[in-house]
């Protein structure tokens, strides 16, 4: 080697580019926040009788965004009364064809104002703008559009029965997909002729309150939709109120409390609760595709997903290569500003959730699993957690059993398909599962045996208004989405002669 060449080598290394990304923040100018948001009752925003307000923040900056009313039992009662009145006077007897038009209006307005909603969703919840923009909002609008069309076709959905609405639905939604969950709850309830009182999660009330404005502008009759903001106590008041049906999405722990609370009341109930989904990769799987599915399965929305693929089951022959590829892929994930269009993993939704994730991750280390986290710089303010992998996980570890609801993947191995089924089903949960293999017959064999309400084969975390979603076992009961998602909001009395 010549001297010149020897000298050139370090120079080339020196010039090796750093593949950084220039900031590409979405403008927040499209969002006009008010200082204070009252409760949305009987078609208007009202001050809470409770006299209480709370501050909602941006979890990426910890900056306050607005003051929001905290509904007490009296406020909840007034909202339920308004919903009852709207149900009795107007909505139940309005022909389905006319109900449909209101829902179509909402769908159209959501499409029209999608960017505004997406930005606000990311500001209030911490999720990456590319997700709120490309997934949450389009799906929310699609959900209203889909169920709008059912409103005047219900007799075709339930042959031999005469479907009729239940009455007033009390609906409690979580903070991980605030707008999408509002759509999942309101669209089928309204399409079937029920009226609703919706309680958004305390950390993410803002898009629901913006939705209230859309509902006003769509001229939905007052009282058909009421939105009461607050925390657990507000939710408890709603569950205990005179609603005819309770629909809850959230933790299994709270779901059980709700079940006990309304025991013997005759209230109808659907629960969409926690999960600990197995994402199963066979040795013949298209590995690069599978890696994308695994990453999407657990890091989508910071892992704040009840159906997240939080347990990766890898067939032993491909374990080493898959782990290497996965670690490499994790290095490319961009963690940071949710409003940056390049961000893959945004902010953890709240300090409380961050502490819960940290506690479970600490248990993983303490119980002997091996942790891997990519190097990445986290912002100084806000709530953040690095994408995390655990190998050496056994089925008895807490990180293999408990829902972490964060960007943390527990990896286990298996040898035979039977063992994969056994391990996948070894959970009190049963919300979703994933299977990766090129063999069609094996996919169907696995899909038949996995005790989960949704099975994604060679894909993961896909959602659609036409596709029913919901759990087996302690992941809840009832379905949301699709034809089957109508049933929880209907009486199916008689009809067959």
């Amino acid at each position: 080697m010549t001297d010149t060449a020897r000298k050139a080598t370090p120079a080339i290394e020196h010039r090796e580019p750093v593949w950084g990304y220039a900031p590409a923040p979405e403008s927040t100018g499209i969002v006009r926040l008010e200082d204070r948001y009252g409760l949305f009752v009987n078609g208007g925003f009202v001050e809470p009788k409770s006299g209480k307000w709370f501050t909602t923040i941006n979890p990426a900056t910890e900056e306050p965004l607005a003051e929001v009313a905290e509904a007490g039992p009296e406020d909840v009662g007034l909202a339920v009364d308004a919903a009852r009145d709207a149900y009795e006077r107007r909505w139940r007897s309005l022909p389905g064809s006319e109900r449909a038009k209101y829902l179509y209006r909402i769908a159209r307005q959501l499409q029209e104002r999608a960017r505004e909603f997406a930005v606000l969703e990311s500001m209030n919840g911490g999720k990456p703008i590319k997700e709120s923009r490309d997934i949450d909002l389009p799906l929310a609008a699609a959900h209203f559009f889909y169920y709008a069309g059912w409103a005047d076709k219900l007799e075709y959905a339930f042959p031999g029965r005469t479907p009729s609405p239940i009455g007033v639905a009390g609906q409690i939604i979580p903070w991980n997909f605030p707008m999408l969950m509002a759509a999942w709850k309101l669209a089928p309830a309204l399409a079937t002729g029920n009226t609703a009182v919706l309680k958004p999660a305390e950390t993410t009330p803002l898009t629901a309150l913006l939705l209230a404005q859309v509902i006003q502008e769509a001229e939905v009759p007052p009282g058909v939709v009421n939105i009461v903001t607050g925390a657990g106590e507000t939710g408890a008041a709603l569950v205990k109120s005179s609603v005819d049906k309770v629909a809850f999405t959230g933790s299994t722990e709270v779901g059980k409390i709700i079940r006990r609370t309304i025991a013997g009341s005759g209230k109808r109930l659907t629960l969409e609760l926690g999960g600990k989904a197995a994402n199963i990769v066979f040795e013949d799987a298209p590995l690069d595709q599978a890696i994308e599915g695994v990453v999407n399965g657990i890091f989508f929305n910071q892992g704040h997903v009840c159906c997240a693929g939080s347990r990766l089951l890898v067939q032993e022959p491909v374990f080493d290569v898959l782990i290497d590829k996965l670690k490499e892929r994790l290095q490319t994930l961009r963690v940071g500003d949710p409003l940056d269009k390049n961000t893959d993993v945004g902010a953890i939704n709240s300090r409380v959730q961050l502490q819960k994730i940290e506690e479970l991750v600490a248990s993983g280390i303490q119980e002997g699993a091996q942790m891997y986290q990519p190097e990445c710089v986290l912002p100084e303010r806000g709530f953040w957690f690095r994408p995390t992998l655990f190998t050496g996980v056994s089925q008895s570890h807490r990180i293999a059993r408990e829902e972490i609801f964060g960007p943390v993947l527990s990896i286990l191995t298996f040898r035979t398909p039977e063992e994969a089924v056994e391990k996948a089903n070894n959970s009190p949960y049963g919300l979703s599962a994933g299977v990766w293999t090129e063999k069609g017959s094996r996919i169907l064999w696995m899909a038949e045996r996995l005790r989960a309400g949704v099975v994604w084969a060679n894909t993961f975390n896909r959602f659609d208004p036409a596709s029913p979603f919901g759990g087996y076992k302690e992941s809840g009961f009832g379905r949301e989405g699709g034809l089957q998602g109508l049933e929880p909001y209907l009486r199916l009395d008689g009809g067959a002669a």
Binding site: A457, A466, A497
Partner: protein, 288 residues
């Protein structure tokens, strides 16, 4: 010349039906059943909490195999039960008469017809109530109902045969297995049904029938962690809150059929089958 000896009839011992066998209660207890007019009808096994747990174990063991039968096969097995019921018609008429049923003949006829009606659903429920779903993307997406697993059943005690069949048949056609609490005051038609089931091709453990103190057993059924769903149609109103509270522990599905004329065609519905099923949705990409 001696008098002709009068033949002594052989009396039945009414036992529990667990895992295809007829054990006595492990507790050693039995209770006396009476006809509506007060005539004693004999002793009946008094199931204990342990018997109930044994029944759940038997139901759980039998469930995967029962669900794995082809729907056609399950339909034939259940149809055969109706054949055997028809053959024992006179016995059921007698037993229903003892319970004071207004029209015992109509009672057994309706029970047999209901059983045949539900048996025919085995290979149709998926087509009638499943779906393929037009998702907005290149995916094949379908939804099928699947059995929920082990189902606890509390039929109405005042309809000792038709009430039981109306709850049991829709529970098992889909591949669930069942633990049934028979009418406490009129248990004999249920005991006879268990004898029919035992001599049919229904695998042991698919149906388990317990006679005994319903109110004392229901909470143990409702709280059992290995029971997936409970049909509380026959649970007394004052017991229902406690049952639903206990059912919360493992997020048990709780189903209560609407009140109504049990003889009406409205009393049978495919939605009674899916009430004890889960909907599973499967996604797969479409591509080359």
């Amino acid at each position: 010349m001696t008098d002709p000896v009068e033949r002594v009839p052989v009396k039945r011992t009414a036992k529990l039906f667990i895992g295809g066998k007829f054990p006595r209660s492990e507790s050693g207890h039995a209770y006396e059943a009476y006809a509506h007019d007060g005539r004693p009808l004999g002793w009946v096994a008094k199931a204990s909490r342990k018997d109930l747990r044994d029944a759940v174990v038997a139901a759980r063991a039998a469930q995967p195999g029962w669900a794995a039968l082809t729907a056609y096969n399950r339909g034939q097995v259940l149809y055969r039960v109706a054949e055997l019921l028809e053959g024992r018609r006179a016995q059921f008429v007698r037993e229903l008469t003892d319970t004071g049923a207004a029209d015992p003949e109509r009672g057994i006829d309706a029970a047999i017809d209901r059983w045949v009606w539900y048996a025919g659903w085995c290979d149709k429920i998926h087509q009638a109530l499943g779906s393929t779903n037009p998702v907005a993307g290149p995916y094949f997406n379908f939804t099928l109902p699947e059995p929920t697993g082990v189902v606890g059943i509390v039929p109405r005690g005042d309809q000792p045969l038709l009430g039981l069949v109306s709850r049991l048949a829709p529970a098992i056609v889909s591949g669930n297995t069942a633990v049934v609490l028979a009418s406490e005051t009129a248990p004999l038609p249920a005991v006879s049904l268990s004898e029919v089931l035992a001599t049919s091709d229904v695998p042991g453990g698919v149906v388990n029938i317990l006679t005994g103190p319903t109110a004392a057993l229901v909470p143990w059924l409702a709280g059992h962690m290995d029971v997936n769903a409970i049909d509380v149609t026959g649970v007394a109103d004052d017991l229902l809150p406690e049952v639903e509270r206990l059912a919360a522990e493992n997020v048990k599905r709780v189903h209560r059929a609407a009140e109504g004329d049990p003889f009406s065609m409205d009393a049978q519905s495919p939605y009674e089958i899916t009430a004890l099923m889960e909907f599973k949705t499967v996604w797969h990409p479409i591509g080359v």
